[in-house]
Symmetry: C2
Subunit: 337 residues, 2 copies
DNA sequence: CTCCTGCACTTAAAGGTTTTCGGAAACGTA
DNA sequence: TACGTTTCCGAAAACCTTTAAGTGCAGGAG
């Protein structure tokens, strides 16, 4: 802990110039003689001078700081988005002020006020699910971008993964493997993610003229439910040859349950998961074919559009970003496994 | 996006007082008449005035902001620490500026400079492992606290989980269950965490006068290694009745491998994991008895001590925080399972 | 010689808030 | 009335940086 920090004043007097000249020299302005600039730079280095971002921000009205407001403490979806955003910002010298509202609207309001008082240039709001959430953008003096969970207000800027398209892609993959008795196990129906993925399944099957094997099974997003669903499904529809699961946890549970009932994965039943949560998707046996929502890309995109919005070029609406199917052993063709 | 933001000047003129009086009224100072204070508060509410934290910080030299510097992008350990810190700060109106160095020293330096230029009041450095890391505190004008990964400099303030004690506790738990042929499978020996946990095993066994079953098996922190280790171990030491694993991933793999070889968990072999990574520890069958490092508590403690250090009351040294054994089915007494 | 131009630098203002100090009014006391 | 005390409020400085405007000087053109 050194003493008082050097100001541009100290630099100027050490270099024997005025603070205006010092400022110009440090910022690379042109009307400074090379020799003078050299002296100033040397003085700054000597004092290890760091310009005070507060003073600069006070003057310019720009803090080069954005607030990131997340609701899911556990961070399973928020973290990749955060990393993507931090990545996009890091390149441009931006900083991220992180706040966790813990799903509490009051706390969220509180955090928004605190961020505004710190004069952030913009806000990214990360939802805990893809369900639309109340807008906070009303009367806010800075632009806001919603990531993962879109705003209810279509005038806001939101970025969400294309759950419908991804589910369709997963089913098309199963169809391409020759599977025709395809079932779907997913999470609670009050999740838009569950409904969207079901919709994608329906579309892909309709397009191919194939009937879904049994009803969609809605439960929770857990491994336990996957095991339980395996029991029920294999009882009701014993001849299924493929299952698309709404999460990797469900898929891992299904694999376990199906194997206990003597089904081989992927030979008897091909399985596709969702989320590409590495600890599950790559470590289970067989490794899971699964949908990767590209959340880091989503976060980066949201950050880039926040930049644009700060510069006045907002692009209102809910933008869906494509997902990616990561193919692994759980849908390998029969001959190979 | 409203127009220009209200300043205390606007509030003062709307209330018909000077800015000094407005400031005093807003900050609850005593030498303001009640009626005047009322007028000022009403004016502030009317304009939805938010004091400019930059101006305030410029004057007071305190930004009520701390920097959190993390190295592990994946965030398995960083995130809980971050949440704990955010929790401790949130209560006191502090904000967290998040930076991810991605394990790159250059980038880290860059971030430190950026944070310093923003005049953070302090820094928390979160390591990616418990291996000691180079200090950054030298000549820094603000206090620094290290969490999870301690600083190499004993003059710094560091908080780490008590890996030795936790491993001993895990082994004592197995001994209390009557197990006497206890093996240990863990991660790479260049991790201090692996060496510490091994040391804890050694101490607990020595104290009880029990020999370890076979050599400690060092591999990687993966489920795959756990499966592989199960094969090797059951070949070399077929009569083991308990295994302490260096991570939940290894434990999950071991359970799988042991079961394939006909061992029942926990009846034949009791298993203890490490990390309490919920997706593994609660969802596997049987649910894993495991060590919880209380990382949120660690983060919160680090944050609180950073507060203290900001106030000039630093407590140098490496402080170890106790872990907690979470007992689940994988070590249930024989009769019950 | 005067005027103009361009260069290198300085002065001063601005940005929003807090705080110290001083002033004015009201009130009580002699 | 004169004076001291209390209460409430205002003027101005301070924090640090950037930038518009201005100053002084040298050299070239007329």
């Amino acid at each position: 802990m050194a003493g008082k920090r050097a100001t541009i004043n100290d630099v100027a007097s050490l270099a024997g110039v005025s603070i205006a000249t010092a400022s110009k020299a440090l910022n690379g302005r042109q009307d400074v003689r090379a020799a003078t600039r050299e002296r100033v730079l040397a003085a700054a280095a000597e004092l290890s001078f760091q310009p005070n971002a507060l003073a600069r921000g006070l003057l310019s009205g720009q803090t080069r700081t954005v607030g990131l407001l997340t609701s899911d403490s556990v961070g399973r979806f928020g973290i990749p988005v955060l990393l993507g955003a931090e990545d996009a910002f890091g390149a441009g010298e931006m900083a991220v002020l992180l706040c966790d509202a813990r799903g509490d609207a009051i706390r969220e309001q509180h955090h928004v006020r605190a961020l505004l008082s710190r004069r952030v240039d913009g806000l990214i709001v990360v939802g805990e699910s893809t369900n639309p959430r109340p807008s906070i953008s009303k009367d806010l003096p800075v632009p806001v971008v919603y990531a993962y969970g879109p705003s209810e207000d279509p005038g806001d800027v939101s970025f969400v993964p294309d759950d419908v398209g991804a589910a369709a892609m997963a089913v098309q993959h199963l169809l391409a493997l020759g599977r025709r008795r395809i079932a779907h196990i997913t999470g609670p129906a009050h999740y838009k993610a569950a409904r969207d993925r079901e919709e994608g399944v329906r579309r892909a099957l309709a397009e191919a003229g194939v009937e879904q094997a049994g009803q969609t099974l809605s439960g929770v997003w857990s491994q336990r439910w996957g095991r339980h669903a395996a029991e029920m499904l294999l009882m009701a529809e014993p001849e299924i040859d493929a299952v698309f699961c709404g999460s990797d946890q469900i898929a891992a549970g299904f694999v376990e349950g199906a194997r206990e009932r003597g089904r081989r994965i992927p030979d008897d039943i091909a399985v596709v998961g969702y989320d590409n949560w590495e600890v599950l998707s790559t470590e289970t046996r067989p490794a899971l074919t699964t949908v990767d929502m590209n959340l880091e890309v989503l976060g980066r995109t949201a950050a880039q559009h926040l930049f644009a919005a700060i510069d006045g070029k907002a692009t209102p609406g809910v933008h869906t970003l494509p997902c990616q199917l990561v193919i692994r052993d759980s849908t390998a063709p029969p001959g190979i496994s």
